[in-house]
Symmetry: C2
Subunit: 299 residues, 2 copies
Amino acid sequence: MDGRPVMLAVAGDSATGKTTLASGLVAALGGARATAVNLDHYHRHEREERAAQPFTALHPRANYMEVMAQHLQLLALGQPVLQPVYDHATGRLGRPALVRPADYVIVEGLLGLHTKLTRACFDVTVYVELAEPVRRMLKISRDVHERGYTEQQVRDELERREAEAAAFVRPQRAHADIVVRFAPIEERGEVGTDPLSATVLLRPTIDHPDLAAIVSPEHQKAIHLKLMRDDDGKPVDALHVHAYAPPDVTRQVQEAIWSNLGSQRPLPACLGRLGEGRRSEPLAIVQLILLHHLLGPAA
Amino acid sequence: MDGRPVMLAVAGDSATGKTTLASGLVAALGGARATAVNLDHYHRHEREERAAQPFTALHPRANYMEVMAQHLQLLALGQPVLQPVYDHATGRLGRPALVRPADYVIVEGLLGLHTKLTRACFDVTVYVELAEPVRRMLKISRDVHERGYTEQQVRDELERREAEAAAFVRPQRAHADIVVRFAPIEERGEVGTDPLSATVLLRPTIDHPDLAAIVSPEHQKAIHLKLMRDDDGKPVDALHVHAYAPPDVTRQVQEAIWSNLGSQRPLPACLGRLGEGRRSEPLAIVQLILLHHLLGPAA
């Protein structure tokens, strides 16, 4: 690699789709150009040890925050790190793994934007939210099927985590350049059983792609930008990406953003991929906007 | 810790007494002031994996050399590192451990002085040698009793390692400020079955304590300095520390160096300790000279 990599962070609560979002980006960039880094490996304790602690894995004290910041700084400088490895299936810490930064480093984790020092390592920061009933359902399903918990254990854990999520995870939302919320857009009459739409806050902390120039007016059914005020009153662009838009329109929007990147390759099929063959077109559009941030418009 | 720690390296071949030398220093300084770092944890492979490799654990390719240099740089700057952990008893790599540098960082390892980048991290560099028949005997004994090898396996391993020891370990001798050799001093008629004397090369690459001022003339039986030429023709001070000197004389020399350090505590009993209750007075004197380098003379 020549020089410093471009670093993107995806932060957010457990089971909000961080890995799905990030791994689509890594797949679209290609393994030779992109390095995936998961910060949840920086847990200090194994699952059994954690049971005796007065806090959950969400708490900064449950994580090597100082080492996490150090490793992110090293990666941002183009240096390799020997990253700890936490096996979510067994809850055990194992032998560390060498991670060498490629041109793009896609970082995901519960606490990636917790400190100023970690935030300073990133070129683009993203905070992901998922409609709470969907998040709970996904977390229970994943932790039961992939991590060996019982359903009751996951429900109890969600309960135990709530105060720490409020104290340490959700405040990171304020520090992201981009906030992505996958949820029904209620003001448009969407309900929870619909495929999830995305609301994307494009904050003025960084430059964003000029979507008005990329997406043509007739595609406004699928995606439209609205000037509004953020939670703190600051001006922000809010992008609505509707899940109910017709597939051909959504596809045209995706092609438009992709071709604006100047790639000779066809639109990567990995974008928008959920799991088990399912897809989310709003997710694909969010990933394309993030790719636009990473790759920049065609020269 | 305020600012940067003082860093000392002990390099040398397997079973030359690096750990014995280093742990005596750490014990004398005290755990609150000294951090022990063992670089042999930076092995890339577990023992079983290594069996399939065309090189032994001595080879730089068998070690995370780049990460080792990075961690030494971080420690030298006073930063903690998450160090890999190789269990010599089982030959397995385990969960990493947080190492936070105290005022003094005592580093030992097979390859600590292999690269210019690692050497630059140290204030004092030491290379240790042990008379070869004694080293072979100690290595066999240790690897059989503590590391689960058979005697024949250790003999085969010594054979396999020889070319790599010559190529990567022994050249580090040229880069040390201090070379310590525990062996019979043949020009004085000592033989292999005697307690081992020490020959200490005090190279002009750093300032050394003024031993002529510290050790009085009547103690020259135990310890004496001789101006000579190093292997490469450069001038060097060679210190002979004789194992056959009377215990009371050796003790007086030790007390003289110790009191020159201005400590109010008595001479630490941990200096010169071998294992199983055995002692080496030349080792104690070598450790005292190294403590002098770390602590400096009393103001």
